[in-house]
């Protein structure tokens, strides 16, 4: 028994030492990792709408309508003039060919697409995976939500060769998300100046 206790103590000692080391490393790296994450999100948004500051808005969706019960989008205001709304940033997500495709999209106050950026995906390399490229984003620039359909579905988004499903996932996810936040933005349009005032 004593022998096993001794073994337990030795193992425990190793664990304690290891935990201590890890705690230290964590204390050093964690702030940096968090910072990196924040900066990355900021940078991504800044790339979509330059020279702007972002504030987040949470919409609570009616219960049972969809799995996440809330949705976040960002209002981009000009750095120089915080009352001037440049546009909105939203993130949309839908299952594509072999993975969930997560996209960030920027729309202007007319709900016209400024730019998009696919943030996360694991689609087929060489086909669907090309949705991360800038040339893919080009296909979306300047489109109104009504036209946001893959060409094969009757819209104006040109599908990537051999990757219609991925294109469709990105397109539809953005269109559907715009539809959700549109109401919120439209109701806000009247109230925002008052808030600022």
């Amino acid at each position: 028994m004593k022998f096993y206790l001794k073994l337990g103590f030795i193992l425990l000692a190793f664990c304690v030492v290891a935990t201590a080391i890890l705690a230290y490393v964590n204390s050093v790296t964690k702030p940096r990792i968090d910072e990196l994450k924040r900066v990355a999100a900021q940078e991504a948004m800044a790339k979509l709408i330059p020279n702007a500051e972002f504030s987040d808005v949470v919409i609570h969706l009616p219960e049972g309508a969809s799995t996440p019960d809330s949705l976040v989008y960002y209002i981009a205001t000009a750095k120089a003039d915080s009352t001037k709304i440049l546009g909105y940033i939203l993130s949309a997500e839908k299952h594509g060919y072999s993975s969930n495709v997560k996209t960030m999209a920027a729309i202007d106050t007319e709900f016209k697409l400024i730019n998009i950026k696919v943030i996360e995906q694991a689609e087929t390399p060489g086909l669907g995976a090309n949705c991360s490229s800038d040339s893919f984003a080009e296909r979306f620039k300047g489109l109104l939500p009504e036209k946001l359909l893959v060409d094969k579905d009757g819209g104006e988004v040109k599908a990537m060769t051999g990757a219609t499903i991925t294109t469709r996932a990105v397109t539809n996810s953005i269109r559907e998300t715009i539809a959700i936040i549109r109401k919120d933005i439209e109701s806000r349009a009247n109230t925002l100046p008052e808030v600022e005032a």
Partner: protein, 200 residues
């Protein structure tokens, strides 16, 4: 979608679409190493299913109530591997004591499972947020462990079947062993490609 609907989706995904071995590259060492004979592949498969299920349950609880609750996520790797090692040891002892016949057929594979990355892999994946931001609860994490184990066993058995057949024929010398095992794995991965993009 009801419980069984979700279960079906998860099963199809774990076995065919996102198979641990063929799509995620996890558990390759036993897949290539213990697939020479069907009997031993079956033993290994059963042992893996068992350990993956139990390990999923344990690590999930440890993660939720010990690590996340105290902000200790950085200890995950350490905690999980220790849990798995201890679990395997424990399972080995229990089986040895209570079911000697089972131990005889499974015993040799149990120690190998500690270093089977499929087990640690499923434990980590269970606590990683899913693409849509949600996470599994305890029940689904355990089921995921079980079904992933089934997926692993499924391809392990298929592989063993083919290799047992190839044992009898005259293969080029340089292709024997791991080389042909890998080519077979590639062939199987290609054969499973048809399930990619399956919408269920």
């Amino acid at each position: 979608m009801g419980f069984f609907g979700q279960l079906f989706v998860m099963a199809v995904s774990a076995i065919f679409i996102q198979n641990f071995v063929l799509a995620k590259f996890l558990g390759l060492c036993p897949y290539l190493g213990v697939s020479k004979k069907l009997d031993s592949a079956f033993g290994m498969g059963m042992a893996v299913i068992f350990v993956m299920t139990v390990a999923s349950a344990f690590t999930f609880l440890i993660d939720k109530y010990l690590l996340v609750a105290n902000g200790l996520e950085y200890l995950r790797t350490l905690a999980f591997i220790l849990t798995i090692a201890a679990l395997v040891q424990f399972v080995e002892m229990v089986i040895q004591k209570n079911a000697p016949a089972l131990y005889k057929s499974l015993g040799v594979y149990l120690p190998l499972i500690t270093t089977n990355c499929a087990v640690l892999g499923v434990a980590i994946l269970n606590v990683t947020p899913l693409p849509d931001g949600s996470t599994y609860n305890f029940l689904w994490a355990t089921l995921n462990g079980f079904l992933s184990g089934v997926g692993f066993t499924f391809v392990l058995l298929a592989m063993a079947g083919i290799r047992e057949r190839l044992e009898l024929v005259d293969m080029p010398k340089s292709m024997r062993g791991f080389a042909s095992g890998l080519i077979l794995a590639g062939t199987m991965a290609l054969a499973f490609y048809g399930f990619m993009g399956l919408k269920i």
